[in-house]
C-alpha cells in the first residue's frame, strides 16, 4: 500500500505522509486507543467479563438493552420508511415544519427528551396519567417508557438515510411497475424496498448503535431500578461509581462488541459492486 498513488494520481510527497499521519494520529488518540483501553482493562487483571456475566444485574441490564434497542429499531424502521415516503412523494401543508421537527431528536439533549416524556406520560401528574391509569398501563419507570425514549432519540436516523435515496431513484420505476400490473404493496415490496435497501440497512445499524448507547433520556424515564428498569449504559455508570470498575469495563466491552459486530456484518453483507 505504501506505493499506492494518491487520489489525484500523484506520487506521495512528504506532505502527503504528514497529512495521513495527522489524520491517523487524531483517530488513534481520540477513538482507537481509549476504546482499546476498555478492552484491555476488561481482560487485564483477571477476566472481568466472566465475572460480570455471573452478576445478575449486569446480565439483566444487557438483555434489557437488547430488547429495548430491538423494539426501538423496529418502530423507527417502520415509521422511518413511511415518513420518508410521505416526505419525498407527497406535498402537503406543513411539510417543511415536519422536516425541521424530524431533526429535533438529534439536536435536543436526551435529558430534555427524557424530561418531556416524563411530563407527558408520567404516572401522577403526567398529562395522560388518567388515561394510562384507566387502562392500567405504566409507561414511565417501565419498559414502554424506555422504548419510547430510545425510539425518540434515534427517530431521524432511518429517515435521513432513506430520504436522499428515494429522491434519487424517482418514481418512474414505480410507475413502470404499476403499468405492468403491480399493486401498491407489490410495487413497494418488489421495486421501492429493494432500491432503498442499503440506505435502510445503514439507517437500521445507526439506529441500533444509537439505541444501544442511549443514556440520558433512559436514565430519567426508567427510574434506574436495578434488575427492573436498568439498561446496560445505566449499569456501567452505577458499577463505575460503586467502584466495581471491572463490571463497568466488561459491560462497556459488551456494548462495544454488539455495535462493532453490527457494522462488520453490514460491511460483509454489502455486495461488492455497491462498495464505495
Amino acid at each position: 500500500m505504501a506505493s499506492h498513488p494518491t487520489a489525484r494520481g500523484q506520487r506521495p510527497t512528504p506532505a502527503t505522509h504528514a497529512r495521513r499521519a495527522l489524520v491517523l494520529g487524531y483517530l488513534f488518540f481520540l477513538v482507537v486507543w481509549p476504546v482499546s483501553l476498555v478492552v484491555t482493562r476488561t481482560f487485564g487483571d483477571g477476566n472481568h467479563l466472566a465475572a460480570a456475566l455471573q452478576d445478575p444485574a449486569v446480565v439483566f441490564a444487557v438483555q434489557m438493552t437488547v430488547v429495548v434497542a430491538f423494539w426501538a429499531v423496529v418502530i423507527n424502521t417502520v415509521f422511518g420508511v413511511g415518513m420518508s415516503l410521505l416526505i419525498v412523494r407527497y406535498d402537503f401543508w406543513g411539510k417543511s415544519v415536519l422536516n425541521t421537527l424530524l431533526d429535533l431528536p438529534l439536536s435536543v439533549s436526551p435529558v430534555v427528551i427524557g424530561l418531556a416524556l416524563l411530563l407527558a406520560y408520567g404516572p401522577r401528574d403526567g398529562y395522560f396519567a388518567p388515561v394510562l391509569d384507566a387502562i392500567d398501563l405504566q409507561v414511565i419507570f417501565s419498559v414502554p417508557g424506555i422504548i419510547m425514549a430510545t425510539a425518540f432519540v434515534s427517530l431521524p436516523l432511518v429517515i435521513r438515510e432513506v430520504v436522499p435515496v428515494l429522491q434519487e431513484i424517482g418514481t418512474e420505476q414505480e410507475q413502470a411497475a404499476r403499468s405492468l400490473g403491480a399493486g401498491g404493496w407489490q410495487t413497494f415490496r418488489r421495486i421501492t424496498l429493494p432500491s432503498i435497501r442499503w440506505a435502510l440497512v445503514y439507517g437500521v445499524v445507526l439506529s441500533l448503535a444509537r439505541s444501544l448507547g442511549e443514556f440520558g433520556a433512559v436514565k430519567i424515564v426508567s427510574g434506574n431500578i436495578s434488575q427492573q428498569t436498568q439498561t446496560a449504559t445505566l449499569v456501567v455508570e452505577e458499577k463505575y461509581l460503586e467502584f466495581e470498575r471491572g463490571a463497568a469495563y466488561a459491560t462497556s466491552f459488551l456494548l462495544t462488541l454488539i455495535a462493532v459486530a453490527a457494522l462488520v456484518i453490514v460491511t460483509v453483507l454489502r455486495p461488492k459492486e455497491e462498495r464505495v
Binding site: 418512474e172 413502470a176 404499476r178 400490473g181 403491480a182 407489490q186
Partner: protein, 322 residues
C-alpha cells in the same frame, strides 16, 4: 377498435395542459403524437395509461371504458424516455416482471422471456443488470418488458429521446419493423417531426393543449391545416404573404410572373444543398429563404448577387401567414 378519447381536459394549477381533446386512434396502427415540448402530448399519453387522471372526459381502450380503471388494471404497455429499468433486477427478471405479477407458471414465463429477448436481440444479455447495458439496449429491454404482458395498447413516451442520433435512427427503423410483425395498437410521443413522418401511420399534431391536425404523414406534409403544422414539419419561409417551404419555391434569373424579386443576398452551401436568401426590392416583404440543390443552381447559372424572380412551385402547399 383502438383508443377513443372524448372531451378530455387536464390542468396543472393554472396551466392548461389539455383542453377538450377528442381523438380516435385506430386499432393496430402506429400513431405518433407530435408537438413541441410542453404542448400536452406526454400528458395525453399518461392519461391513456392511467398514470395521470383527466379532470374531465372519458378514455376507451379496445371498447372498454377505462376512465376510472387504475393503471395496473388497464393492461397497457408503457415505455419511458429514461427507460425506468428496474435497476436491481437482471434483464430477464425485468422482462418477466409483469408475468410474475400475473402469477403465470414458471415454465411459461421462462419461455416467453426467451422469446421476447430474442425479439429485441438481447438473448445474450439475459443475466446482466441494466447498468451493464447501453441506452439503446436498455430501451429495447423496456420494450420487451412492456410487450411481455401482451398489452392491448403499447404507449411510448419519447422512447428514443435520450439516445444519440445514430442509435435513435436505428431503433426507429427497428420499431417500425417490430410493429409490422406484432400489430399491437401503438402510440408514441415525439417532438421530432422526422421521426413521426418516417415511422407513423397516423400523426396527431398537438400544440398548446389542442389538436392541430390528424392525418397520414402525406396528408400532413402536403395539406397542412395551419401555419403551425406547416412550420412544425420542417423549415418554412415567407414568400409574399404566404408561408411556404424553401424548396417549394421556383427561382429564375429571367424576368417572369413572380411574387417577389430581388438580389441573392446570402449564399450558404450545406453538402448537396445551397441555401439562398433573397431580399425583395419591394421592402414590404421580408427576406425569403430558398433552398436549391447544387445541380439546380448550376443548371440555372445562379451566383451570389444575381437578381432573381421567385414564385411558388406548382402544387406546393402553402398557407396564409398570420
Amino acid at each position: 377498435m383502438g383508443i377513443e378519447i372524448v372531451g378530455v381536459n387536464k390542468s396543472f394549477g393554472d396551466f392548461v395542459a389539455l383542453s377538450d381533446i377528442d381523438l380516435s386512434i385506430p386499432g393496430g396502427g402506429l400513431t405518433a403524437l407530435l408537438g413541441p415540448s410542453g404542448g400536452g402530448k406526454s400528458t395525453l399519453l399518461r392519461i391513456i395509461a392511467g398514470l395521470e387522471t383527466a379532470d374531465s372526459g372519458t378514455i376507451e381502450i379496445e371498447g372498454r371504458d377505462t376512465t376510472n380503471v387504475p393503471a395496473q388494471r388497464r393492461n397497457v404497455g408503457f415505455v419511458f424516455q429514461h427507460y425506468a429499468a428496474f435497476k436491481h433486477m437482471t434483464v430477464a427478471k425485468n422482462v418477466a416482471f409483469g408475468l410474475e405479477i400475473r402469477k403465470r407458471p414458471k415454465a411459461e414465463i421462462a419461455r416467453r422471456v426467451a422469446e421476447l429477448l430474442e425479439l429485441v436481440h438481447l438473448e445474450q444479455f439475459a443475466h446482466r443488470l441494466p447498468a451493464q447495458l447501453s441506452g439503446g439496449q436498455r430501451q429495447r429491454m423496456a420494450l420487451a418488458r412492456a410487450l411481455a404482458i401482451e398489452p392491448s395498447v403499447l404507449l411510448l413516451d419519447e422512447p428514443f429521446g435520450a439516445l444519440d442520433a445514430k442509435v435513435r435512427k436505428e431503433l426507429r427503423d427497428w420499431l417500425r419493423r417490430l410493429h409490422d410483425g406484432v400489430h399491437v395498437t401503438t402510440v408514441f410521443v415525439t417532438h421530432d417531426q422526422e421521426e413521426a413522418l418516417e415511422v407513423a401511420d397516423t400523426i396527431v399534431v398537438i400544440n398548446d393543449g389542442r389538436i392541430e391536425q390528424v392525418g397520414t404523414p402525406d396528408d400532413l406534409y402536403d395539406k397542412p391545416a395551419s401555419d403551425f403544422v406547416l412550420g412544425f414539419l420542417g423549415p418554412v419561409t415567407t414568400l409574399g404573404d404566404r408561408l411556404i417551404r424553401p424548396h417549394d419555391i421556383e427561382i429564375s434569373r429571367v424576368e417572369q410572373a413572380a411574387v417577389v424579386d430581388g438580389p441573392i443576398t446570402r449564399w450558404t452551401r450545406v453538402g448537396f444543398e445551397i441555401r439562398l436568401e433573397v431580399t425583395p426590392i419591394d421592402t414590404r416583404y421580408a427576406p425569403v429563404q430558398v433552398s436549391v440543390t447544387r445541380t439546380e443552381a448550376h443548371a440555372l447559372g445562379l451566383h451570389p448577387g444575381d437578381h432573381v424572380w421567385l414564385r411558388p412551385a406548382v402544387g406546393a402547399p402553402s398557407v396564409v401567414s398570420t
